[in-house]
C-alpha cells in the first residue's frame, strides 16, 4: 500500500472514524484528570485557610527492644500549612516529677492534614513512669 493511498484514506475518514472508542475513553479520562487537577488545586488555593501547622503527637505503642524500650508515635498536622523538620521531644519523668530521660527525633515533613510516624528509644520503662511527647518546633518548607 502506498503512502498516497494511506493519507487519502485517512483524510476521507472523519475524526470520529479515525479515533477508536477506546481512544476516546482514554482521552476523556485525561481531560477529566486535567480539569480535576486544576479544579482541586485552585479550590485549595482559594479556600484553604492559611492556618499554621498544628501538630498533635500520639503514642501508638511501647515495645521492649534490645536497647531498651521503643515508644512508637504518630504526629498529625491539623493545620493548613506544611511543617518541615519537625522536632519531637519525649520527656520521661518519675512520679515526683523529676526528669529521668529526654529523647528527641526529627520528622522530615508533615504535610497539612497528614500523618507521619516515628519512634523514641528509652532505657527506663516508660510505662511505669510519666511520658510526655510533643512537637517542639518546625521550620517552613
Amino acid at each position: 500500500m502506498s503512502d498516497k493511498n494511506k493519507s487519502s484514506d485517512d483524510k476521507n475518514k472523519s475524526l470520529a472514524e479515525r479515533t477508536s472508542l477506546f481512544e476516546w475513553i482514554v482521552a476523556a479520562i485525561g481531560a477529566i484528570l486535567v480539569l480535576f487537577s486544576i479544579g482541586f488545586i485552585t479550590y485549595q488555593a482559594i479556600f484553604a485557610k492559611d492556618t499554621p501547622p498544628n501538630l498533635i503527637v500520639n503514642v501508638t505503642s511501647v515495645k521492649r527492644v534490645s536497647s531498651g524500650y521503643l515508644v512508637e508515635f504518630n504526629v498529625k498536622n491539623e493545620g493548613e500549612k506544611t511543617a518541615a523538620s519537625v522536632s519531637i521531644e519525649g520527656k520521661l519523668s518519675d512520679s515526683d516529677g523529676k526528669e529521668i530521660e529526654t529523647k528527641t527525633t526529627t520528622i522530615e515533613y508533615v504535610a497539612s492534614k497528614s500523618e507521619r510516624s516515628g519512634g523514641l528509644i528509652y532505657k527506663e520503662n516508660p510505662e511505669i513512669n510519666k511520658l510526655e511527647i510533643s512537637a517542639i518546633g518546625y521550620k517552613d518548607p
Binding site: 477508536s20 477506546f22 485525561g30 484528570l33 504535610a111 497528614s114
Partner: protein
Amino acid sequence: MLGKSSKASSESEINDNFLKGLSRAFAGAIIFSYPILMTMEMWSLGFTISPTRLTIYILLSIPLLVGLSYFVGFKDTENIADDIIDAFVGFAVGFVASAILLYIFGLIDSSMSYYEIFGKITLQSVTAAIGAMYAHSELGNSDGDFSKDQEKKNDRLNYWGELFLMSVGAILLAMSPAATEEMYLIAFKMSDIQIILLALGSLIMMHAFVYTVGFKGGESMNDETSFWTVFLRFTVVGYAIALLMSLYLLWTFGSLDGMGLKEIIKVIIVLGFPAALGAAASRVII
C-alpha cells in the same frame, strides 16, 4: 495512525493499533519521568509548591502536549482535534504511570491528605506525559509506517517548531535537577569566572550539537548557511530558551524566592547547562 490502514480497516484493528501506541506511551512516560519520581525534593514539592504556580504549570502543559503531538506524537494526526485528543491521552498515561510508580515506591499512602497525594502525582504527571508523547519517535515503531509518518511530521517543522521542540527538550532534562538542592550548592561553590566558563561552555556545546546533528525540516547545514546565521538563529536563541525554561522551572518550584539577583542568575546558568543539553538534544531525540 500506527498500523497499516486501509478502507477495510476494522474497529478492532484501530483499537489494536491504539493499544500498541498506548503501551509505547507508558514506556516513554516511565523512561522520562523516573528520575523525578525518584528525587526526594519532588515528593515534598507536591505539597509545598504554591497552588497558583502548580495550576499555571498544569495549564501550560496542555498546549505543550498538543504541540508535541503535532510534531512528534504517538500517532499520525490529521488535524488539531486529533492532537488535542492525543494530548489528553498523553496526560492520562502520564498521570496513571506516575500514580502507579509513586504507590509502588511507597511514596503515597492512606495516612496522607488528598492534597499531598494529588499534588505529588500531578506535579510528576506533566513530565511523564511529555515522555509519553516522545515515546513514538524515541522508541521507534515496529511497523514500516514509522518513517512515512515521521517525514510528514518533519515537514511541519518550521523555525518556530524547532524553537518549540528546543524548549520542550530543555524542560525535560532540566526538570529533575531543578528541584534539587544541588543546584544552589553548585552555584554557591562556583566562582564568577567558573560561572562565565560554564555559560560559554554551554553555548559551545549547543553549537556543536546543532552543527553536527543538523536540522530536520529543510534547515540542513549546507555551505550557504554561514556560521553566524546558524549560531545566532539557533544556538544563541536556543541557549536563551534554555535559560528561560530554567528560570520558569525554578520559579515554579519556588526555589528562587528570597534570593538575590546575582545568585538567581548563577543558579539559572547552572541549571541552564542540562537545559541547554536538552534543547540541543531535542534535535537528536525527535
